[in-house]
């Protein structure tokens, strides 16, 4: 690794130095193409984010792709009903690595106001790994931009080697997640235990 002092000195002289990791991550974080789909009212805020006033293009994420094969980022914008959940997981599986997920709004995080309902999934993180959660009902476009920036920071810090490398560079990491089946009373299984476990109870002393 190049010394930080030497590096600033070199850049002052007009010599730019970088590492493969920085260059690679800079390229990935600067062109996150979201999958074009919305589930409920959060999608309206997502659309607003992509329009001129908030302009998600400033972050290189304006290319909403209608096909999962071309998308890097899944923005789960809205209530995930149990009837819709298998399709979401299937779309996620169809996206090529590296791929990221933003759960937008309380419904996508936990079921939100519909948590006790019979038809709503209590959070998409039961079936697919979520990188950034944004609370809000719906979150403001600024919140989505904040989530995107958080995700960019996360990508920026991902090492290309070692134990903390992202799943797409780890051959043993699962590439696909099981799609839940429609059961007689509920989705089967109701969650992916490898990804999600019911929270244990902790008491404040």
């Amino acid at each position: 690794m190049i010394d930080e002092g030497l590096r600033t000195e070199l850049s002052r002289q007009g010599v730019v130095t970088t590492t493969l990791q920085e260059l690679y991550n800079w390229g990935r974080k600067s062109s996150l193409w979201p999958l074009q789909f919305g589930l409920a009212c959060c999608a309206i805020e997502m659309i607003a984010t992509s329009m001129a006033r908030f302009d998600i293009a400033r972050f290189g994420a304006e290319v909403f792709r209608p096909s999962p094969r071309q998308a890097d980022l899944m923005i789960v914008a809205g209530t995930v009903t149990k009837k819709m959940a298998p399709q979401i997981v299937r779309l996620y599986n169809q996206m090529p690595e590296p791929k990221y997920v933003i759960a937008m709004g309380v419904c996508a995080i936990s079921g939100g106001p519909f948590k006790e309902g019979y038809n709503v999934l209590k959070g998409i993180d039961r079936y697919i790994p979520v990188d950034v959660h944004i609370p809000g009902c719906p979150p403001r476009p600024e919140a989505l931009l904040q989530a995107l920036m958080t995700l960019q920071d996360k990508i920026d810090k991902q090492p290309l080697t070692g134990d903390n490398r992202p799943p797409h560079l780890d051959a043993s990491a699962p590439g696909e997640f099981p799609i839940p089946a429609f059961g007689q009373h509920d989705l089967e299984p109701p969650n992916n235990p490898a990804l999600w476990q019911p929270p244990p109870m902790t008491r404040a002393e």
Partner: protein, 211 residues
């Protein structure tokens, strides 16, 4: 629009054999409704739509109700022998009304600018005899809403052209809006559990009640 009593009489006169019953509404809305017998409901609906004075051409809303078994307590005066003398004694008599499912239709007339007229159709019980005549052939707007009732309450609409589940998936076997629906046991932590949720919280976290 004419009064409901008058309308009931006209319906019964126009459709031979039809029986309508006025269901009073004790709430502040005071909106009584007309309960029809299932056998003639379709003909009555056609009469309501086509009669030149009524012209109920718009079914704005169809919904379902699940009525559980009810015990009605009534005081009845009975003549009884009390210590050898015949006396009138008040007795509390308990009467049970069977459980049934109900479909409620709200009708308006765009042409005559009146409404709503509320129709009720009742099933015989809520287990095996849950068939009602579909009014979709009369009012097209009932199609999706009758499907929703079929999905959530389990009323089977005879004469409906496309009776499938609309909100839940086809493999689903329950009817979530029925009173006896048992939802899948997927409780997790709630910050402020109460009532039923508190009971479930205690079952899932027997170590202690959530703070």
């Amino acid at each position: 629009m004419e009064a409901l009593e008058q309308l009931k009489a006209r319906v019964e006169a126009a459709v031979p054999g039809a029986q309508a019953e006025i269901v009073p509404n004790g709430s502040p809305a005071n909106q009584p409704s007309l309960s029809l017998d299932c056998g003639h409901a379709r003909t009555v609906a056609e009469f309501l739509r086509d009669d030149p004075d009524l012209r109920f051409d718009y079914a704005s809303n169809v919904t379902g109700v699940d009525w559980p078994e009810k015990t009605i307590k009534e005081k009845i005066k009975v003549k009884k022998l009390v210590s050898g003398v015949e006396k009138e004694v008040e007795e509390v008599c308990e009467r049970k009304t069977p459980a049934y499912l109900e479909a409620v239709y709200h009708l308006y007339s765009m042409a005559r600018k009146h409404g709503p007229l509320i129709l009720r159709l009742r099933t015989e019980n809520r287990s095996d005899k849950v068939t009602l005549p579909s009014l979709t052939p009369v009012w097209r707007s009932c199609e999706f809403q009758e499907r929703e009732i079929f999905d959530l309450y389990g009323i089977i609409f005879e004469g409906h052209t496309d009776l499938r589940r609309i909100l839940m998936w086809p493999e689903f076997t329950d009817h979530p809006m029925r009173k006896d629906y048992v939802e899948p046991d997927d409780y997790e932590y709630e910050p402020t559990p109460h009532d039923d949720v508190l009971t479930r919280a205690r079952q899932h976290y027997p170590g202690g009640t959530p703070a």
